[in-house]
Symmetry: C2
Subunit: 302 residues, 2 copies
Amino acid sequence: MTGPVGSTGPDAPAGGPATVRPFGERLADVLADAGPLCVGVDPHDWLLDAWGLGRDAAGVREFGLRVVEATAGGAGVVKPQVAFFERFGSGGLAALEEVLAAARAAGLLVVGDAKRGDVGSTMAAYAEAWTSPTSPLRVDALTVSPYLGVGALAGAASAARASGAGLFVLGATSNAEAHDLQSAVTATGPRAGRTVAAGIVEDVLDDNAAAGETRLGSIGLVLGATVDLADRGVDVSRLTTTPVLAPGFGAQGATFADLPRRFGPAARSVLASVSRDLLSAGPRDLASAVLRSSEEARSCLA
Amino acid sequence: MTGPVGSTGPDAPAGGPATVRPFGERLADVLADAGPLCVGVDPHDWLLDAWGLGRDAAGVREFGLRVVEATAGGAGVVKPQVAFFERFGSGGLAALEEVLAAARAAGLLVVGDAKRGDVGSTMAAYAEAWTSPTSPLRVDALTVSPYLGVGALAGAASAARASGAGLFVLGATSNAEAHDLQSAVTATGPRAGRTVAAGIVEDVLDDNAAAGETRLGSIGLVLGATVDLADRGVDVSRLTTTPVLAPGFGAQGATFADLPRRFGPAARSVLASVSRDLLSAGPRDLASAVLRSSEEARSCLA
């Protein structure tokens, strides 16, 4: 259904730049063809228990492979939550590598939810880990954290683009503890007078514009689906060519009907991420739950 | 030299809380006995080349083991930069696990420089990965990123303390791109009127106070050694019982003489981190370089 449109192919050779279309282009195709649903791969202990799987590397491997299989027929994007694999150390990361390979083989786009963030050569090493065409951990896009400044992520953005990959920069998140920091008012520099979150939005827009990405950029934003974006200083009408990863659908409170309500003209560039609500359907019913959810999400944008 | 004072023992059984002293106490002993030097384990490609090692998992493993061996006689703390291992995927993390085990066996304190940061159960999974006594990736303290609010790290702080481990929360960093965000002024909540960085400092101080840690807390701060802390709104005189991880010594511009100058009364709770300047000495001369550097650092606090 989503076919190989969003993929570099089951096992694309490490050809690099020339053979892979930009992430923003590939994501735009997936959003148009398969719709906005993004299925989280979050192997919590309680879900492993409910699925009859072990709380270990083998368990998260099996869990991830089943989610990929169930998603392939009904949605275009999966988002593995790296922490749930990393807690089993190198064995957990090896399990994740198998899940990522399966997702690529199934023609799914993969967002690695790792929220990495550092500076200079260290950030370059994270970009190498997650976006280099030869890395076993390669994903189509990686979530990153901007506490060290969006400027510190510029090298990673370039590296990602060179491999046809992308980034999603944390912007405005829905957890209560984030409000005060993300709403703080910048006093210096080119974003003076804006909130921290709004400054990050502008930095990302500028980065995509500088790269000449006019359909959909390769650098996106994480904006929680239940956040009052206006209160956080974010103007959604400016996001029509910027990918948005929006967690918070389903158990966390947002409904797909919120997509046009909250994101307005930018609703069609939003990936609506659902985890618990789908995963709690269990392995036998997950595929049909994904399909139903995907159709519902698309209908809200029709 | 530093002996087992900072360690849980070569292969401490997974005993948990009862058998491990708080990280803040263990760090205070190391600072008093071995001094402030923290040796970075940053296997850049150019260093791997210079050391005659491969740019692969085997190379970073060997690099890390040699740094641990060279540090054990001269300083008390190593700080592996996780990104340089992660870029080789699960194989790189397996290499890191061996380096961490060797550091524990050598009686060194280990700060895992991973800058993880997330919310709720996901952050708990990172805490499990890096501070659980049974995790192959366990370290004595982990660097974490507060973009989602310091409050979002509270669960990880509790989990770390329960295992006798700690966290270092990014506060004020020296890279130019970080200035505007970290100096933004909080407009809402208990830290209203303070800069973002200063609010984080207060949150960390409160957390240690609430835990009753009066000698040296288990939750510390990352404050760059070359940052103008007053400009960032941070009052160093308040940090006498809070561990500070200060990168930026050596090639990055700070000298050990800056320790008392920049941190004043808090200078004795600062870990002075050096990477390039020491690592570029090469594997044969690293041990003597560490010893010399460690003695110089101590003399500046005498």
